[in-house]
């Protein structure tokens, strides 16, 4: 019962015991204890052989004619007792041995006690020893008293062996000494090095499961009973009829009180609480589900999650101020290009002229007139060739400006004049002609007549190949590649998909980039296949520039976006910048510095820091650093072309206001 009590006093063990297996265990325990008790009883009465039923209440046999069984298994019948009260009384009066007659319970027979037996009963009743001969008052004789006598009890002299050392002991000691000498026994056993006690928590990991004790959360406490739980609450806690109805209609989950306060006259009249088990169970559930561990919530400032962009101040050098304005054109300047040495700048304008400028002084050194509004100019990137490709209408002219090293200029002229016609003339889509007369005086060297208007010209890095774009919807001949040294023209694409906007050569590898309105296609010129198709996610690409490393491309679009593609990363833009308010007209990369610029119709040039890392795991870092304003908006057109100085962190921009600006 003690166990049961302690078990039930803890609410958790109620939950425990409610499982059937535990109940079964208790039941078995009780059964086992009972059978043990019976066994002990049997063993005590085993010598009583008159009746074999054992120590059982004899009244079990009171309805039977027998009272048990003898050793042979035969029934022991009860003696016939048909005496009534009167007979009993007469027997008592007449039978002189009545008083010494007793009934044997086991056999039911009457036994007449003998005189010795009666005498024994009498003696026991009187509190005397049963044995008649036992004298309880015999005189006591002390053999060994406290008195010291003169003579000893025994006078035997001490043995000799009590004076000489024991041989057996000597032998034993000798063996031990020998064993110690031989080192078999260590006289001083070295102490046990293992400490008797050890630090239980020495190696404990604070983060392990034990660590939670540090973050101990005590079990939630139950609410203490209030006045409404009293058996005799103040009347304001008792519910009125409406309140009680409302309480009953409420969902038990939303009830404010889980019970109805009731009033009883006295504590004795309080009935058993019907919801006791239910509430205990709910309490157990609460304990089971309550949090046992304190979880540290990480407090993160959302500002910290934004990657830290370096300040533009730390990313210098980049162009910051307008330094020079190249004035001279009377109409919008569509295109500019800079010589590979960085000393000269060429600009082509709608006033049908091409002007050559000295970069450091903004001096126009040369003006060449051509037969139409100039759409594109491109200076040959090879420093050993002095040629400028100029496109107007359906013509591309290769000009020798005669600037820079005189030797290079004459060598270029020689290179062009030394061309020999091949024996078999191929049919080419473009007519090549050598400029003569006045045109030659002005610097015209080769004239290429195209079937359609040429919009863009661009050189290959080696300076021998020249690509021209003739945008025409739905026609095959949109891009042609010329080889100047052999005066040969190739049409690389039998069929162009979409309207080609601009093309570019890869700076290192034999790839060719073709930008249509929505896509940039990258072709491998050696394998003659499409390598990649970049999706710009914009309506209409206007311009494109290839990073000098060759793995990154930026595209400007007429819907104010600049998309940066990482060719290793994806065919979708790595980043899209929407800094301009109006359509982008031109984008450019710097050859050495991590800079790129974009010119837009809103008259601004935005310079961004675009760092490309050699580490393939690190994505390019793009930080806009400067908005350069210098052009006035004319006919809703602002900046038409941007280009970087080849060695200095300077950017040139040409605008619709007929000027070219240098920002340093």
């Amino acid at each position: 019962s003690q166990t049961k009590k302690s078990l039930f006093s803890d609410p958790r063990s109620v939950w425990f015991i409610s499982s059937p297996s535990c109940v079964m265990f208790l039941w078995h325990t009780v059964k086992w204890a009972d059978s043990l008790l019976i066994f002990i009883t049997f063993s005590v009465r085993s010598q009583d052989i008159r009746n074999t039923v054992g120590n059982i209440p004899m009244e079990w046999y009171k309805d039977y004619p027998h009272i048990g069984y003898d050793l042979e298994g035969k029934k022991i019948f009860k003696p016939i007792r048909n005496k009534d009260e009167l007979d009993e009384f007469l027997d008592k009066m007449e039978n002189p041995d009545y008083w010494r007659t007793v009934q044997d319970k086991m056999t039911g027979a009457d036994i007449r006690l003998s005189d010795e037996q009666v005498d024994l009963v009498h003696r026991l009743q009187q509190g005397k020893f049963g044995d008649v001969n036992f004298n309880e008052y015999e005189p006591a004789i002390d053999f060994f008293s406290n008195e010291v006598m003169i003579h000893p009890v025994t006078n035997r002299p001490q043995d000799k062996r009590s004076f000489i050392p024991s041989l057996i002991e000597k032998e034993k000691v000798g063996k031990l000494v020998h064993a110690i000498k031989m080192g078999w026994i260590k006289p001083h056993r070295p102490k046990e090095t293992t400490p008797q006690y050890y630090d239980l928590w020495a190696k404990e990991d604070p983060n392990s499961i034990l660590g939670r004790h540090k973050m101990h959360i005590p079990a939630p406490k139950m609410k203490l009973p209030g006045h409404e739980e009293s058996y005799n609450p103040p009347p304001e806690y008792l519910m009125s009829e409406e309140e009680r109805l409302a309480w009953e209609q409420q969902d038990p989950e939303y009830r404010k009180l889980s019970f109805l306060p009731q009033k009883f006259a006295c504590l004795r009249a309080v009935p058993a609480y019907s919801r006791f088990i239910h509430e205990r169970f709910e309490r157990c559930l609460d304990l089971y589900l309550c949090p046992r561990q304190r979880k540290m919530r990480v407090n993160v400032n959302p500002e910290d999650l934004i990657p830290k962009l370096p300040k533009p101040k730390d990313l210098q050098p980049f162009p910051t101020t307008q330094s020079l304005v190249y004035r001279g054109h009377s109409s919008l300047v569509r295109s500019i290009s800079i010589s590979p040495s960085g000393q000269w700048l060429v600009s082509g304008s709608d006033d049908c002229t091409v002007r050559f400028w000295e970069v450091s002084t903004a001096r126009c050194l040369k003006t060449v007139e051509v037969g139409g509004a100039v759409k594109g100019v491109a200076w040959n990137p090879n420093p050993s060739i002095c040629l400028v490709a100029v496109s107007y209408d359906d013509t591309v002219v290769l000009l020798n400006p005669g600037l820079g090293d005189r030797l290079v200029c004459t060598a270029t002229d020689q290179l062009i004049s030394s061309y020999e016609e091949p024996e078999e003339v191929k049919d080419q889509p473009v007519q090549w002609a050598v400029a003569e007369g006045e045109g030659h005086e002005q610097g015209h060297r080769l004239i290429l007549k195209h079937p359609k208007a040429v919009r863009q010209v661009t050189w290959h890095g080696k300076g021998d190949y020249l690509a021209c774009v003739m945008p025409d919807n739905g026609n095959s001949l949109q891009v042609v590649i010329h080889q100047v040294s052999k005066r040969r023209t190739q049409n690389p694409f039998r069929k162009n998909k979409g309207l080609v906007q601009c093309v570019s050569f890869h700076p290192i590898r034999p790839y060719f980039f073709v930008a249509t309105q929505r896509y940039v296609r990258v072709y491998n010129l050696i394998k003659q296949e499409l390598t990649k198709k970049l999706m710009a996610n914009c309506k209409w690409i206007s311009s494109m520039a290839i990073h000098p490393g060759g793995d990154n491309v930026i595209c400007g679009s007429y819907d104010c976006r600049l998309a940066w593609f990482d060719l290793d990363l994806s065919t979708k833009p790595y980043k899209v910048l929407r800094h301009h308010k109006k359509a982008l007209r031109s984008v450019a990369y710097h050859r050495h510095y991590p800079l790129f610029a974009s010119g837009s119709d809103d008259g601004n040039v935005i310079v961004c820091h675009g760092m490309v890392y050699n580490d393939l795991l690190q994505n390019p870092l793009i930080v806009p650093v400067k908005v350069l304003k210098g052009h006035t908006i004319t006919h809703d057109l602002g900046v038409l072309d941007v280009t970087f100085h080849p060695t200095q962190p300077w950017v040139f921009s040409s605008g619709a206001d007929g000027t070219v600006c240098l920002f340093t």
Partner: protein, 397 residues
Amino acid sequence: MSQVQARFFTENKKYLIDDVPFSIPAASEVTDLSAVINKLLEAKNGHESVQLCVVCVCLQEDVVEIEYVEKFTAPQPEECIMHDDWISSVEADSEWILTGSYDKTARIWSMEGKAVMTVAGHTDVVKDVAWVKRDGLSSLLLSASLDQTIMLWEWNSERNKVKARHCCRGHAGSVDTVAVDPTRTKFCSGSWDKMLKIWSAESNEMMPRKKQKTEQMGLTRTPLMTFSGHNEAVSSVLWMDAEELCSASWDHTIRLWDAETGGQKNAITGSKVFNCISYSPLCRRLASGTTDRHVRLWDPRSKDGSLVLLSLTSHNGWVTAVRWSPSHEHQLVSGSLDNVVKLWDTRSCKAPLYDLAAHEDKVMCVDWTENGLILSGGADNKLYTYRYSACVSDAGA
């Protein structure tokens, strides 16, 4: 009104006054201080009144120490010489002004602004000019051009004839700068092809072996020595002394060279493109004009290189020309793309002494002669000269 204790001092012995503290009103202006000093000077030695200006004020134990110097009079404009085209360079000596122009000629002018001679012979823009020497009536002069040559001319001022003596060929780019060494026997040229070349400046009368076209172009001359080391175009070159060369370049460095061995001695690294440099033997400082509108002063002897001593900031455009005063150790003149020529005193680096805003277009070149003439030429085809007399008197004093 509160009073402060002030003590005046000067380094100019001519205007020395007693070293006694004075009590002056705290709200005194420069003119008030000038009046006080003038009164004191008058009382002392009956000196005529001079304009003085306060240069430096320092506080010591509640006595304000005020240094005063003579106030320079503003440069007086003298002449405006019109050219046919942009003026790329100017160099004047005591008698004649030599200018190089974008019309492919160099011109000689008298101090009064009279055109004396037009030196034509280059096939392209003349970028720099220099006087070599003068023996009596005949002078030697140099002109460097975009056509990659430097021409050595002999000019006879009496007969007013100019003759091409030598045509120095060897550069593979436009020759942007030329400088004659102090012994007047050699000159150095810097070019866009990143090279510095040293040439002999002697005018050999030796007849050519072949009858070349000596009448027109002069004998072809090849360089004595070539210095390579710059990574970009050389924009300006000068001689520090007979053995040491200094060159500024677009690669953001100023390099010092040993003219005898051809080795590089020192390099000063800036952060922007150097357009021009000037060296003053008086204060042993280099002044540089860069593309970031500062005039910077450097110590060419400092071994750690990139130490800027001072930076003079007031221009709004690239500083295209800078020139130290030949007679005053603190003054220099600078010209910029913002059309202004500024006269600086390095002791007051916050603001220039004078702004000479006569040009209507980019200033391309400035010069300062020993007799106190400041010249500036620019893209408005005009060459202005200014008389700056104060510096002569100061030098005399």
